[in-house]
Amino acid sequence: MKARVHITLKKGVLDPQGKAIAHALASLGFAGVGDVRQGKYIELDVGGADEAKARAEVTAMCEKLLANTVIENYTVDIAK
């Protein structure tokens, strides 16, 4: 199974890279872009066929290493 993890900065956490992207888009003429927030995408191959178990395992990985929950949120998608 594949696990797809999206990691984003929590609301209220400064995102200077997102700001720089917004400025660059504006300078390229893309009007109407408001706030830009950037994050990380991690794809993992996980063994087994039990989706719930895989989700629990990847969630534990996020809590322990993949995300810093002080500043980041994460979502886990499991695809067969």
Partner: protein, 229 residues
Amino acid sequence: MKSAVIVFPGSNCDRDVADALHAATGKPPVMAWHRDAGIPEVDLIVLPGGFSYGDYLRCGAMAAHSPVMREVSARAKKGVAVLGICNGFQILTEAQLLPEALLPNSNLQFICREVGLKVEAAKGAFTSHYQEGQTIRVPIAHRDGNYFADDATLDALEDSGHVAFRYCDDKGAVTQAANPNGSARNIAGVFNDRGNVLGLMPHPERAFDPATGRTDGRAMFDALIEALN
């Protein structure tokens, strides 16, 4: 005072801080490799600056889970003094031995220069040789030194006297203009609750030997020797 410096792949200030410790104490520190499960009995453990594990994932994230950090964490909880400088500070926050997190600098640039620091708390093993409110000048060299915490946490840190240093101008004024990296409330260094763990982004070991400029960092080593001998 016996000391140990933890060396991770990508540490690059381990020799600088080892030289400072050697000069200050008269004996070389133990250099402990990141795969070591044990550290000899020491009075001070230093996590040096650098780019441990190439800053992969997040600065300090990989190092925080290396085998040696389990031992560092256990010693810190027993009350052993632990000093994290620059990348060492990032590792200590990722290991949850210090509160909150360090984000990329607000200008997204690596900043390498001398900054002014106001000593907020002159107490305990690390800062007792400074005066409260004293202004010192120490170099910084980092890309991710933007200290972040929410307002309630910042209030709690301030109320409990856990802010060790703030960025300030030449006159000691803590201003936005004197904040190099966007850190919340200009915070450059913090203590843990017990006061035996200090993390700071500036490099006191680079302000130690007159041959390389100022010696404002030396008082931290002198304070440690007095407290831990």
